[in-house]
């Protein structure tokens, strides 16, 4: 299939209204598209069976059926078309359809209200939407508990650091430490595979303390040149109820000569906290010591409003799934704005994760989000790379 911008591309309009099909076919003809039209689902399936399409324009209401039932066929047709929805239905339905198609792995350029304004359609066709991130292949290399404990014993699980940056002046305000398991000769084991494995197999406390030790040692190095730069360590809910946690943290802070203010404990409620009272007790003790507490991946899993009410958090991290969609999904943006506003009311500082572009960084700064994290500022890196990065870095201003 030719899909370059200067050769003719093939487009399918699926709409049960003849005049709408005609207007769209004529409008896109000026852009070098060859348009086919389908008046029903069956027509559309027949077209997809015959030809490869670069773009499919899909009416959500098709007589007694609907356009949603075509999404699976679009995913499976093998030609990976860009999808544009058209509908008279309200915005929420159009937005939900776009999300659904994205979840199907389709590239969605947008949705338009009917009758379709040809100029708006042309604008949409001139941009190619990004491909949704492919789901990682989980079939390969799922490690065993024995491999995990051996890797921990051999220090094969390493700690990397990703910067948190002030959106106002570009200053580096901290690092998040992230456990990584590179495996020589094969793909690294993703953390969302080996962390749950460590939780299930009872070695999560050992892993957490190991990462924390490496993180605090690294932090004591960079604080020589960046004294205000903290380090964040992820703490599993299963470790939160470990009564030795506060003393263990005390000991490590003492060994590394760091003040408690250098440490941020990030809590993701990946699993339900079995004993909320014990967890709240430990977290309160940590806060009293001067350690910051961050609620991680806020808005996902169990990281909820109830946790904010129960636990003495000082920072809220907006999950990357909201940040990454805040320019394309108006409702994601509303949730981000409301979250920042709520955090302000509660006196929490806010970190937005998953920032990849300057325009997203600017939007977030403009609504009062102080801190950002993401590939725009830096990917997770080793301690040595990080120290070099810190020393070379010119502040990013957004």
């Amino acid at each position: 299939v030719n899909s370059g911008p200067y050769v003719s591309r093939r487009l399918l309009v699926v709409d049960d209204e003849r005049i709408q099909r005609l207007i769209i076919a004529r409008a896109v003809g000026n852009l070098g598209f060859v348009a086919d039209a389908a008046a029903s689902l069956d027509d559309a399936l027949a077209c997809l069976g015959d030809r490869a399409y670069d773009v499919v324009i899909l009416d959500l209401s098709l007589g007694e059926t609907d356009g949603i039932s075509l999404l699976q066929a679009l995913r499976d047709c093998g030609c990976d078309p860009v999808v544009i929805f058209i509908s008279r239905l309200d915005d929420r339905i159009r937005i939900a359809s776009m999300r659904l198609a994205t979840a199907f792995g389709l590239r969605v350029a947008g949705s338009l209200h009917k009758p379709v304004a040809p100029a708006a359609l042309r604008d949409m066709l001139l941009q190619t939407p990004p491909r949704p991130a492919a789901a990682p292949d989980r079939a390969v290399n799922v490690p065993t508990v024995e491999e995990l404990t051996r890797a921990m014993h051999n220090n094969a699980i390493v700690t990397q650091f990703q910067p948190k940056v002030s959106l106002n002046d570009g200053a580096v305000v901290g690092m998040e430490s992230l456990a990584r398991w590179p495996r020589g000769g094969s793909a690294p084991v993703p953390p969302d595979v080996f962390i749950p494995l460590a939780e299930r197999s009872g070695v999560i406390a050992t892993l957490t303390f190991s990462v924390m030790r490496q993180a605090l040692i690294a932090c004591s190095q960079w604080r020589k040149t960046h004294p205000a730069c903290s380090v964040a360590v992820n703490i599993s809910p299963l470790v939160l109820t470990d009564p030795t946690l506060p003393d263990e943290i005390d000991r490590m802070l003492h060994e590394t000569g760091l003040s408690p203010g250098a440490l941020v404990a990030e809590i993701t409620e990946s699993t339900v906290i079995a004993n909320p009272l014990a967890a709240a007790q430990i977290l309160t003790r940590l806060r009293i010591k001067g350690i910051s507490l961050s609620i991680d991946d806020f808005g996902t899993g169990h990281s909820s409003l109830l946790s904010l009410l129960r636990m003495p958090f000082s920072e809220l991290k907006i999950d990357q799934s909201f940040t990454s969609q805040c320019e394309t999904d108006p409702e994601a943006w509303k949730i981000v704005r409301a979250t920042v506003s709520m955090a302000r009311e509660l006196g929490l500082s806010v970190v937005a994760e998953g920032i990849e572009t300057n325009s997203v960084a600017e939007r977030l700064r403009d609504i009062g989000c102080q801190t950002g994290q993401g590939w725009l500022f830096g990917r997770p890196m080793s301690e040595a790379t990080l120290l070099a990065w810190l020393n070379e870095r010119e502040p990013v201003t957004v």
Binding site: D16, I23, A27, N30
Partner: protein
């Protein structure tokens, strides 16, 4: 002479910019071609009491009329479609819709005459007479 604009001239002017005058004539031609079928189906479905068919046809007419810039007809057909989701059809509503559709078809005929062969008064004067 109707006191409402049967044809949304702003819509058609914009459409002409987007798909050309020829495209607009084709759109109106398709509407003129399909509309008698819709009207016949509306009348027959009403007479037979086939409500689903009546609603479907009102929906199809609404879509076609709106896309052709026949805004009052599009809104009236849509109103009938929505009403049929709740209540029994009303003979007067169906008859009024059909009259509006026929007037709209006549307006298309005048519009075509005005744009294809402007008379001595020019197209603007002719269009004024359509409203």
């Amino acid at each position: 002479m109707h006191m409402i604009h049967l044809i949304d001239h702003d819509y058609l002017a914009q459409l002409a910019e987007d798909i050309g005058d020829e495209g607009v004539h084709e759109v109106l031609g398709v509407f003129s071609e399909d509309a008698p079928g819709y009207l016949a189906t509306l009348q027959q479905a009403y007479a037979d009491g086939r409500l689903a068919e009546l609603r479907r046809t009102a929906h199809a007419l609404a879509g076609a009329a709106r896309n052709a810039g026949l805004t009052p007809l599009g809104e009236a057909a849509y109103a009938l479609q929505v009403a049929l989701e709740r209540t029994e059809p009303d003979a007067a509503d169906v008859a009024a819709l059909i009259r509006l559709a026929e007037a709209s078809l006549a307006a298309i005929g005048d519009w075509n005459g005005a744009t294809e062969a402007p008379g001595p008064e020019g197209p603007a004067a002719t269009r004024t007479a359509l409203i």
